[in-house]
Amino acid sequence: MGIMDYFKPVDTWSPDKVRQFLNEKGPQEYNLIDVRTPKEYEEGHLPGARLIPVGELETRWKELDRNKPTITY
């Protein structure tokens, strides 16, 4: 038994995969979440990304439809 028996990997997508996905889908079909700080967000973010800093996600996930595919960065 190893330490990884206690963890499961988080699913990740490459930027190319994300780009392709965003091109194919309409903005109402997914959640795209920028989890950085407001300052980082203002300096530049992905088109249509919604800012929810990671520390606020614990309460603010309720603002999102959890049945939609959700991409975080």
Partner: protein
């Protein structure tokens, strides 16, 4: 790193498809991302006993304690050294809260090999959240900018909060629930302080 921890939070809350974009905004812009120590930032499998999770949390606190202590001793990031040292001291206190709750629950059956024998892990290797080997994280941290260290530390804290929330939900006793709630609150405070440094 933050976004993997964020995706783990969403999974916990029932999002069936939560994906973290590899490499973050710099990879999106075609730049090479400052690579984290391992690809493994992750959430734990819930099919374990509460005692095992307490042992796991204890070990992760130990790893975090050592990581922060090392960060707090770097001359290079003087502005954050005091913060890292305080976090290190706090994680050490968390270890003793966890050990107390373990002893209280296990009573006479407490395993003298706590925490490793409960997890069937050999001694000698320290781990961070996500199963990252401490020494690999320390190697990675060499020469990194403070921003990268803070980002990594934030992801540790988000994962720690995640673990304590799951443990609080799992625990049946009032006392245990209170302890896990207090621990997640303290990690939330760490998260705020680290985020303020970005």
């Amino acid at each position: 790193m933050r976004s993997r921890a964020a995706a783990a939070v969403l999974s916990r809350e029932g999002f069936k498809e939560a994906y973290s974009m590899e490499g973050g905004i710099s990879a999106w812009e075609g730049l090479r991302a400052a690579g984290p120590p391992e690809a493994g930032m992750a959430y734990f499998d819930p099919a374990h006993t509460l005692e095992e999770l307490i042992a796991l949390a204890w070990m992760l606190e130990e790893g975090a304690c050592k990581f922060y202590r090392e960060m707090g001793s770097k001359d290079k990031h003087e502005e954050a050294a005091a913060l890292f040292r305080e976090l290190s001291d706090d994680e050490e206190k968390h270890q003793s809260s966890l050990f107390k709750i373990y002893q209280r629950r296990a009573g006479k059956d407490a395993d003298p090999g706590f925490p490793r024998s409960l997890l069937s892990l050999e001694s000698g290797v320290d781990y961070l959240e996500g199963g990252i080997v401490l020494n690999k994280a320390l190697e990675w941290a060499q020469g990194k900018e403070l921003k990268d260290l803070l980002d990594f530390s934030i992801s540790l804290e988000v994962n720690a909060i995640d673990l304590y929330i799951k443990m609080e939900r799992r625990a049946e006793g009032k006392k245990a629930k209170e302890v896990f709630k207090a621990l997640s609150n303290q990690e939330r405070n760490h998260l705020k302080r680290l985020t303020a440094g970005l």
